[in-house]
């Protein structure tokens, strides 16, 4: 039976899940918007971030947020290397880039499986406890993710709107050739964009890791969610990622709680197929030039 309290719970669950999904999708949509690359390896950078924080915070006792920053920087560095070596030589060949991203995904996952083992690990959250009221129950570790996630979103928005690099990124996303003619160092922008996308993925993984579990295969479901969010909201659109994430989170929460776990997965795929047919550029996407 659907009481007001359970409805409130569904909404709260859904919004929280929505923020999770936005965090997963942000880097992915950025990379697509600027490099036109469907980054299949996105989930692996997400996973790398979680593991770096695991080693620094859970094992070495570093402060959680310092570890988070360190993870972002480390994974960004990996991103720079990858972009220069793997993707830059393939710049205009979209299909080759896509297959390379696939190869990268397989390789990173394989290496981590050997290095870390395949068993599930626990990444403890810096906060414990649960908020309980007559209406809703909300664990504090999720609250931390939602809070930190919103901070990240705001910082990213500020970056992309007001910094020079952010404006350069937007220029290249809009029209790479025009940006080149304006004197923007396009190659540098591509590398920077990829690195930032990876850093965002890493932050997502590190923040969400404590809520779920840590495992070398954790990137796969995250990638799938990122796909759905980004298609919903529009490839390359950051506000679209926000809207898409929240819509997905709420929809899944409602379906799972009301109709059972199986329907929520199918719901996601049906939705994107619908969106692609009705408005292929997504809810907030721009039409392709």
């Amino acid at each position: 039976m659907l009481t007001l309290a359970s409805l409130a719970q569904i909404v709260v669950n859904g919004l929280a899940a929505g923020v999770f999904y936005v965090l997963m999708a942000l880097g992915f949509t950025l990379i697509f918007g600027i490099l036109r690359l469907v980054n299949f390896a996105h989930g692996e950078f997400y996973m790398l971030g979680a593991f770096v924080v695991y080693h620094l915070y859970a094992q070495l006792g570093m402060n959680f947020f310092v570890a988070l920053a360190a993870a972002a920087v480390a994974v960004a560095a990996v991103g720079v290397l990858v972009e220069r070596v793997v993707f830059a030589p393939l710049r205009s060949r979209e299909l080759s880039m896509l297959m390379s991203a696939l190869g990268l995904q397989i390789a990173i996952q394989g290496i981590m499986a050997v290095v870390e083992g395949v068993e599930g690990l626990s990444l403890p959250s810096p906060v414990q406890g649960v908020y309980r009221s007559g209406w809703i129950t909300f664990p504090y570790d999720r609250l931390l993710v939602v809070g930190a996630g919103l901070v990240v979103l705001l910082l990213f928005y500020a970056f992309i709107t007001w910094t020079r690099l952010g404006q350069a990124l937007r220029a290249v996303a809009q029209d790479g050739d025009a940006a080149l003619m304006q004197g923007i160092p396009v190659n540098f922008v591509y590398t920077a964009a990829f690195a930032i996308g990876c850093a965002l993925a890493a932050i997502g993984g590190a923040l969400i890791g404590p809520v779920f579990s840590l495992q070398v295969y954790m990137g796969q479901p995250a990638l799938l969610k990122a796909f759905i969010v980004v298609i919903l909201g529009g490839l390359g659109s950051v506000p679209g990622a926000l809207v898409g994430g929240l819509v997905l989170g709420l929809g899944e929460s409602a379906f799972a709680t009301l109709f059972g776990g199986l329907t929520s997965d199918m719901f996601g795929f049906l939705m994107i197929m619908g969106i692609l047919l009705w408005k292929p550029t997504g809810l907030l996407g721009r039409a392709e030039a």
Partner: protein, 392 residues
């Protein structure tokens, strides 16, 4: 120059002849042979813990036999050799591996595979080649009267769910209702039906049964519904240990106070690792007693050899390996027909843990299912504690 060479050659020849004449011929050595046992399982990817557990169990048993001098058949002393291939937890991979074992490596005994889909896929190949198969896999369709060469070493929830739940129900009579949550795959659905049967027989009402897709990480939406129905028990059914840990943690976080039961496959340490303190009080099915000295020794041996923890599933393949080698020794043959008949008529096997019998006529139409002793475990203060041993 040439004369010099000729004399050197001649001297060598003479020396060799002399040596051959003087040194007595070696004693008549017993003939040496090799018994090849094929092995297929998930040796990479997510199932590697179980797959390596199975392989380790078999190889440690083989080591025991080889170190004790092998198996003597007639006047040939045989060492056991295990040939292992990865099926990548998939049907075509398993069939390819089975083909290779049968036609290239010439085995007629295969241990494994791990999963239901590989198991069902290789049935045609192994049965038509009369290959003895000692497998894992959870599906009820793995065994049947139409597959006379296929045996299963691992007890499934069809075998242990009823005794497990029955004992728990008797010990904790306050538990009246249960919710079962399971992954949507072959194993999950099968285990769900066995668990339901067990709860029914124990007089506990199943109020909710829910499935989730593999890859789900956020169980809170599903758990919200389950917890609202206030069941006394939440059973993780066929969920993987990692998923079980997450479900447990998230359920406790949203306020569930009841009893958790894990009736499916082994891997409690992982659950404890993922769920932390929340795992205390979990009741579960354990194939072994990890506090028993003999088991501890086995675990140490495994870790030293493979550099990873020994998954409890491996115990069936250690004991099963010994049962197989014992059968070979007693029948003095490696023919699949001979071994099959021996195993079918075997009354019992005494393993490290106790008494094993063959059963399963009622469920499968053929007596090829191993029934093993098991333990009811409880997590107390982060450790595994065995409450009770249940023997067939």
């Amino acid at each position: 120059m040439r004369r010099w060479m000729r004399s050197v050659t001649l001297s060598c020849a003479v020396a060799a002849l002399a040596a051959w004449a003087v040194v007595p011929p070696a004693e008549a050595q017993p003939k040496k042979g090799e018994i090849k046992i094929g092995f297929i399982s998930a040796l990479s990817g997510a199932g590697i813990g179980w797959g390596m557990g199975m392989l380790g169990g078999l190889e440690l048993a083989a080591e025991d036999i080889n170190n004790a001098g092998g198996i003597k058949i007639g006047d040939t002393v045989n060492t056991i050799k295990v040939i292992a291939y990865d099926d990548k937890y998939g049907g075509p991979g398993a069939v390819q591996a089975a083909q290779r074992l049968i036609s290239q490596d010439g085995v007629n005994i295969i241990v494994g595979p791990l999963g239901s889909v590989p198991m069902l896929a290789i049935a045609d190949v192994t049965e038509s080649n009369k290959v003895l198969v000692l497998s894992n896999s959870y599906t009820t369709k793995a065994l049947s009267a139409k597959k006379p060469y296929t045996f299963r070493l691992t007890p499934t929830s069809a075998e242990f769910a009823t005794p497990l739940i029955g004992w728990i129900a008797k010990q904790r009579p306050k538990l009246k209702t249960a919710a079962i949550i399971s992954p949507n795959d072959e194993t999950g659905k099968e285990v769900m039906s066995h668990d339901e049967r067990a709860y029914e027989k124990a007089g506990i009402k199943v109020v909710i049964r829910d499935f989730y897709e593999r890859g789900t990480q956020d169980f809170v939406p599903v758990l919200t519904k389950i917890v609202a129905a206030k069941p006394d028990i939440i059973d993780f059914d066929g969920s993987t240990p990692a998923d079980s840990g997450v479900i447990l943690k998230q359920a406790r976080q949203i306020g569930y106070q009841g009893q958790f039961i894990k009736g499916g496959g082994p891997g409690t340490l992982e659950i404890i690792r993922v769920a932390g303190d929340f795992a205390n009080g979990l009741l579960y099915y354990s194939p072994w007693d990890p506090n028993d000295a003999k088991i501890k020794a086995l675990m140490a041996r495994f870790e030293a050899k493979y550099k990873m923890p020994f998954n409890a599933l491996g115990i069936f393949f250690y004991e099963g390996g010994h049962a197989l080698f014992d059968a070979i020794k007693k029948t003095q043959t490696t023919s699949s027909d001979g071994l099959r008949q021996f195993l079918e008529q075997q009354k019992e096997f005494q393993g490290v843990q106790g008494r094993y019998v063959w059963g399963g006529e009622a469920d499968y139409g053929i007596r090829h299912q191993w029934i093993a002793p098991f333990f009811v475990g409880e997590v107390q203060a982060g450790k595994e504690v065995m409450l009770m041993k249940i023997e067939p």
